[in-house]
């Protein structure tokens, strides 16, 4: 007699166990506590760690933007405003200070594939993966508009319409390298020859001087210095946090 009950109990138990498993839910480790630490003072430093909460700052944010009016190393204010006039002025006056060497061009391609190709497509026709899957729409092909090196840089710096700014993810030099690559893609799309590469040995000025030095052609006469630094300060925010 007991055997019958044993069987029933086992069956019910098995049913309960089986049903407790979530139907096909993908397994994610629920471990949400850190394990015990041996000598925790070797793990948790006295100084602030990256992204830690700090009590002395507003909102307890330890990651801070550079102080207004200061200039971070490796970064310079951009002289064109984020409006129609600034765009037109950059389009007409701004020129690429980075020489079109193979190294810069290759780097530009690598960066383009990371940041731009996801929407603009690997060949710049506006058919990136996100556009094909209809997540982001209305990305134009590079050959459908009149664009110059200056306007490409300007749009990367501030963003345009639904495109966001890429100033926090790239450095000045990197944006110019991407500009070189975008121009090459545009030439391909339009069926005209690309600009010829320059032999690296013919370039004597180090790129840092070209990009950041006083000789940078960014000092176009028509451009006015940006008065409000706030919207450009985001530039180095990210890499500063990383140090």
């Amino acid at each position: 007699m007991n055997k019958f009950f044993n069987t029933i109990l086992l069956t019910v138990g098995a049913c309960v166990l089986v049903s407790c498993g979530d139907n096909g839910t993908k397994d994610v480790s629920p471990k949400s506590d850190r394990s015990v630490q041996y000598f925790p003072n070797m793990y948790q430093s006295v100084g602030y760690e990256t992204y830690q909460e700090g009590t002395v700052f507003e909102n307890n944010m330890e990651a801070q933007k550079p102080v207004d009016g200061t200039v971070s190393r490796g970064w310079l204010p951009y002289d064109y405003e984020d409006d129609n006039d600034g765009y037109a002025s950059a389009k007409a006056n701004l020129e690429n200070p980075v020489p079109l060497t193979e190294a810069h061009f290759e780097n530009g391609k690598a960066l383009y594939d990371i940041y731009c190709a996801i929407c603009h497509g690997a060949n710049g026709n506006g058919q990136g993966h996100l556009v094909k899957t209809e997540k982001i729409l209305g990305v134009p092909s590079y050959d459908s508009r009149e664009i110059t090196a200056g306007s490409i840089y300007h749009v990367m710096y501030y963003g345009i319409n639904y495109m966001g700014s890429y100033a926090s993810q790239t450095s000045i030099e990197e944006r110019w390298e991407i500009t070189h690559y975008v121009e090459a893609l545009r030439a391909d799309l339009m069926g005209v020859p690309r600009k010829p590469l320059i032999d690296a040995q013919n370039v004597d000025t180090p790129v840092d001087d070209l990009v950041l030095g006083d000789d940078a052609p960014a000092d176009a006469a028509t451009a006015e210095p940006v008065e409000n630094m706030e919207n450009t300060n985001q530039d180095n925010g990210n890499s500063n946090n990383g140090q």
């Binding site: 007699m1 007991n2 019958f4 009950f5 044993n6 029933i8 109990l9 069956t11 019910v12 049913c15 049903s19 096909g24 839910t25 993908k26 994610v28 480790s29 471990k31 949400s32 506590d33 850190r34 394990s35 015990v36 630490q37 041996y38 070797m42 793990y43 948790q44 990256t50 992204y51 909460e53 909102n59 307890n60 944010m61 409006d83 594939d113 990371i114 940041y115 996801i118 993966h129 996100l130 899957t133 997540k135 982001i136 209305g138 459908s144 963003g159 319409n161 639904y162 495109m163 966001g164 700014s165 926090s168 993810q169 790239t170 985001q234 990210n238 890499s239 946090n241 990383g242 140090q243």
Partner: protein
């Protein structure tokens, strides 16, 4: 102990199993309620009819998506105004002129054009000289298609698919429960009848244990058998050593650590389905020690225009993970102070308190740029299949042994390193002509990581 458990009386058993069955049932129906949420995005209607103005809405849709959707949405203000029924607001001739070259129209002093220009913060609309009047007619035909009413269309199309599945589940469960109940009732009845028979016939059903005073208690017998004591002791020691060792070895190791983050961010969707490069968001991994948690402006690069996920994604999130993705996007908007109505940042920001997962103790130095840019190592080598992780977890143990092991095994790509070519060649010859590993280049020196 097992025997004890099985001697529960049948009545109790019936009640417990009934409770279990109904608990199961109610759990199932609850799941059905949550999965029956409202659809996130209206379903597209196939409308190929030609409207009065002679435009073809289907052709228009393709043109709209290629040219206009960068700034305009149909039913919501975006960078530019919502375009639904725009053809009724303005005359067709005026629209042709505006679309082909709006800035010229504004410059010519057209009152209507200037009013729009000022209303939308004096943003220039791109000129589209490549669109013919016919193209524009097609686009206008598309913008005149009314919003498909989500509930009406979704009702018959999607609801059955969802309900169907859980309905059959429910029916099966109900039938199972019924069968179980019947079984239990029958068994209880049989049991009591048999007992009554036994009592009537004078058969003894419950046996009392006979007294056996000669038998020694089992623990005394165990103590007397020294061999058994010894083997048990050794066995217990080994088992405890196993657990103590395992426990000690897991000290400070957070492999599998998967904390709940303030905003549910799915690496599966972003890195897996959408194929966004890791370095798109974690851009500082290219050039700094930290891979960097992306600042929210990086999220907003795409999420300015993606306020709602696609319907299939939305349903998948609810059904498989119990997450309402659209609510998570709203959390992002709240943190960045983005106002969907005004399509602008309000300036009311609040920090997102992400929980850090990967953390090395301060005594060890690790540099992302060195591994990602110089070493050219895939992110997945250390972080695992991130593109499949709905919830991010720590894949690798991040122990010293794990680091050292990789340094011993990884070959270094020395091509194109002109300055050190000779030295590398000599070193390689010293090591028997094999390719150099990180360890050969000093990757095992204490001072590399501890200083």
């Amino acid at each position: 102990m097992i025997n004890k458990k099985f001697q529960i009386n049948p009545f109790k058993l019936t009640i417990t199993s009934l409770v279990m069955v109904f608990a199961l049932w109610s759990g199932q129906s609850q799941a059905l309620d949550t999965s029956d949420g409202e659809p996130a995005v209206p379903v597209e209607v196939n409308e190929s009819e030609v409207t009065e103005s002679g435009g073809n809405a289907e052709l228009g849709e393709a043109l709209f998506k290629a040219n206009c959707a960068a700034c305009h949405k149909l039913y919501k203000n975006a960078v530019g105004p919502a375009l639904f029924q725009v053809s009724e607001k303005y005359s067709r001739e005026w629209l042709y002129k505006w679309i082909k070259n709006s800035s010229a129209l504004i410059a010519s002093g057209d009152a209507q054009a200037v009013a729009i220009y000022n209303e939308y913060d004096q943003k220039n609309m791109n000129a589209f000289p490549q669109l013919s009047n016919e193209d524009i007619d097609n686009i206008l035909a598309y913008t005149d298609t009314s919003k498909p009413v989500a509930t009406e269309i979704v009702g018959p199309e999607v609801a059955p698919a969802v309900a169907d599945n859980s309905m059959t589940n429910n029916i099966v469960l109900g039938a199972l429960a019924l069968v179980l109940v019947v079984l239990i009732v029958v068994l209880v009845a049989v049991n009591s009848t048999l007992k009554r028979f036994a009592a009537a016939n004078g058969i003894q059903t419950e046996f009392e244990e006979e007294d056996q005073p000669a038998r020694t208690p089992i623990w005394k017998a165990f103590v007397r058998n020294q061999f058994l004591v010894l083997t048990t002791a050794i066995f217990l020691l080994l088992v405890s050593a196993y657990f103590v060792y395992g426990g000690l070895m897991s000290v400070g190791i957070d492999q599998g650590y998967a904390p709940v983050q303030p905003i549910h961010y799915s690496h599966r969707i972003h890195a897996g389905v959408s194929k966004i490069e890791c370095k798109y968001c974690h851009s500082s991994a290219r050039e700094s020690k930290h891979s960097g948690i992306p600042s929210l402006n990086v999220c907003m690069n795409c999420h300015k225009s993606i306020a709602e996920v696609a319907e299939s994604t939305y349903n998948e999130g609810l059904e498989e993970y119990g997450i309402d993705y659209n609510k998570e996007i709203q959390k992002l908007y709240k943190a960045t102070g983005w106002s969907e109505e005004e399509q602008a940042f309000t300036g009311e920001e609040e920090p997102v308190r992400w929980v850090r997962i990967h953390n090395l103790p301060d005594l060890a130095y690790f540099n992302h740029a060195q591994h990602v840019t110089a070493g050219n190592i895939e992110c997945q080598t250390c972080h695992g299949p991130v593109e499949e992780m709905e919830i991010m977890y720590q894949y690798s143990p991040l122990t010293m042994g794990w680091c050292i092991n990789c340094h011993r095994e990884s070959n270094v790509d020395l091509k194109g390193n002109g300055y050190y070519e000779e030295i590398h060649k000599e070193l390689s010859e010293k090591r028997g002509g094999r390719q150099l590993t990180v360890a050969d280049l000093g990757g095992l020196e204490c001072g590399k990581c501890h200083y």
